[in-house]
């Protein structure tokens, strides 16, 4: 079964992250690279992506003629999706364990950041038989 692990960060998260000491930033990046590699080696990684800063984000809606109408990110949004992993695992518990590992990514002074990771199952195919 596949799960998506969504790493959300507060709107201010990117600036906070950018203000961290260099060695902490490098440790964090090193952790993320190693984390994806470990998931690939355990045969569980389906996909992993990090997203660009929310400053670049646009909200898009279709206009009357179907043309895109873009808008900035709504100011009231407090959290943004910073990145995600999709893993293929044997149980939800294993997905939670992986999420906890991601949550403990090192921050300032190497202390675990304990970020909130939203875990949701990815929809799969239909069941064997239905009446």
């Amino acid at each position: 079964m596949k799960y998506i692990l969504m790493m959300n960060c507060p709107k201010t998260g990117y600036e906070t992250f950018g203000a961290m000491p260099q060695k902490d930033i490098q440790a964090h990046i090193g952790f993320m690279v190693g984390f994806a590699k470990a998931l690939s080696e355990s045969g569980e990684l389906v996909a992993a992506e990090g997203l660009a800063s929310p400053q670049e984000a646009k909200i898009v809606r279709a206009g009357k003629d179907g043309a895109p109408i873009t808008d900035g990110v709504f100011p009231e949004a407090k959290e943004f999706l910073a990145g995600y992993w999709i893993v293929d695992v044997e149980s939800p518990e294993q997905a939670y364990r992986i999420a906890a590992r991601a949550s403990a990514a090192p921050g300032i002074g190497g202390a675990p950041m304990n970020m909130a990771i939203e875990v949701r199952q990815v929809m799969s195919g239909p069941p064997p038989e239905m009446l």
């Binding site: 045969g43 990684l45 389906v46 195919g125 239909p126 064997p128 239905m130 009446l131």
Partner: protein, 415 residues
């Protein structure tokens, strides 16, 4: 070299020989990962040489010889690299019989390999991947595509599986009489999972996964030829054929699910049904009844009904009674409740569902909600049925199924 020419059949020959050669060379050298590389090289060599020079007189022996030569080279270089391994390597060479000595046990080797790949030490996902790779001869890329994961991830899953087998010290031999029932149960379960993986997700845009069911049928057929007297092997093969026969009818043009009772039965594959029924007819009188034979028998009753209205529900209920006694898992009990409702009316089925809810077997499971919705609808309790369809849709983790359940709720609300 004989004059036999290279044709499309030769490709099949290579695929059929691959697990036999792998088995024979593992028997001698043990190191699963290294042997697989050596066999791959031998297969590549064959694909290059045979079309040009014709088939060798004994293709299997040719492949074993080439792969063994590669392995000997591999062992020598390992020895040179780490002197302390010398003793072990020499020992293996002296103690194990030469690959040629096992000349006529090619079919046993396929079976041993299958027992090795479908072993308790592996998780189901690993056993499935390794079986498709080592016994089925699919490429890592093909397996990765079938399971919708990146090739690198699948490659790691397969090599971890090989490592786990190596470190667990599973011996390369057929299981003993005492182990046999349990070990064969694991093999059949893995084949069943491969079939289901392909069958359940072949709707809509994921047609490439069809290959998995075909592969599962091919492998199960091979096991059946190796163990023709085992009733459960025959039962599983029959179950796959009788289920696969309905494939074309079970989803609509947009990949939407069509339940059994509303399928266009002219789309069912008559030859698969005939083969499955013949297998069952030959097997059931043998007396050692098991869950796969029972499930196949239930599938056969559905397949042989002219229309949904002509389904012999009393017989299906009797078969589920037997199956429930043999393997009383919640899904069997759920299907038993449906059969009971079809024979004795929806109230009888709903009562059985209450039992499933109460003892926690399926509490909170969307299938329980979905079946309850269906039976409530049959009982004419529209509002309760709508509520249960929606509850089931909310809990389903399958997109086509959720779409189906939401549509059912909407249809009923507007009726």
């Amino acid at each position: 070299m004989s004059q036999a020419s290279w044709d499309a059949g030769s490709e099949h020959l290579l695929r059929e020989l691959a697990p036999q050669v792998l088995g024979a060379v593992i028997r001698r050298f043990r190191d699963f990962a290294a042997v697989e590389d050596a066999v791959q090289e031998a297969l590549v060599a064959a694909a290059v040489q045979w079309p040009r020079e014709g088939l060798p007189d004994n293709p299997r022996a040719w492949l074993i010889q080439v792969a063994s030569r590669r392995m000997t080279d591999h062992v020598r270089s390992e020895v040179a690299r780490r002197r302390r391994e010398t003793e072990v390597a020499l020992q293996a060479d002296q103690v194990a019989p030469a690959a040629d000595a096992a000349q006529d046990s090619g079919h046993d080797d396929t079976l041993i390999l299958l027992f090795m790949c479908c072993h308790d030490v592996l998780t189901p996902a690993s056993a499935i991947a390794l079986t498709l790779r080592a016994v089925g001869g699919l490429t890592t890329a093909e397996i990765a595509k079938a399971f919708l994961v990146p090739e690198a991830t699948m490659a790691q899953r397969i090599s971890r599986a090989k490592r786990d087998i190596k470190t667990s010290g599973v011996p390369f031999r057929l299981p003993t009489t005492e182990e046999r029932v349990q070990r064969l149960r694991v093999v059949l379960h893995v084949l069943y999972l491969i079939f289901n993986e392909g069958y359940t997700t072949s709707a809509g845009p994921e047609l490439q996964r069809l290959e998995l069911s075909r592969e599962a049928i091919r492998l199960t057929r091979a096991v059946y030829h190796l163990l023709p007297d085992d009733a459960e092997v025959a039962g599983l093969l029959a179950l796959m054929l009788l289920t696969d026969a309905r494939r074309a009818a079970r989803s609509g043009p947009e990949g939407e699910l069509i339940p059994l009772t509303r399928q266009d039965r002219t789309l069912w594959d008559r030859s698969e049904i005939a083969e499955g029924v013949a297998l069952l007819t030959a097997t059931l009188p043998k007396g050692s009844l098991g869950p796969y034979q029972l499930q196949a028998a239930i599938a056969a009753v559905h397949d042989e009904a002219e229309g949904a209205g002509e389904t012999d529900w009393p017989q299906i209920l009797a078969l589920y009674d037997l199956l429930k006694r043999m393997s009383p898992n919640p899904m069997v009990r759920l299907n038993h409740a449906i059969a009971a409702a079809m024979v004795h009316g929806p109230a009888a089925g709903l009562e059985l569902l209450d039992g499933l809810d109460a003892d926690g077997g399926l509490k909170g499971h969307h299938r329980l909600d979905a079946v309850r919705a269906h039976l409530l609808e049959l009982a004419g309790e529209r509002d309760a049925a709508v509520a249960n369809y929606l509850a089931a849709a909310g809990r389903s983790t399958s997109l086509p199924e959720r779409n189906y359940l939401m549509t059912q709720a909407a249809r009923l609300r507007e009726s």
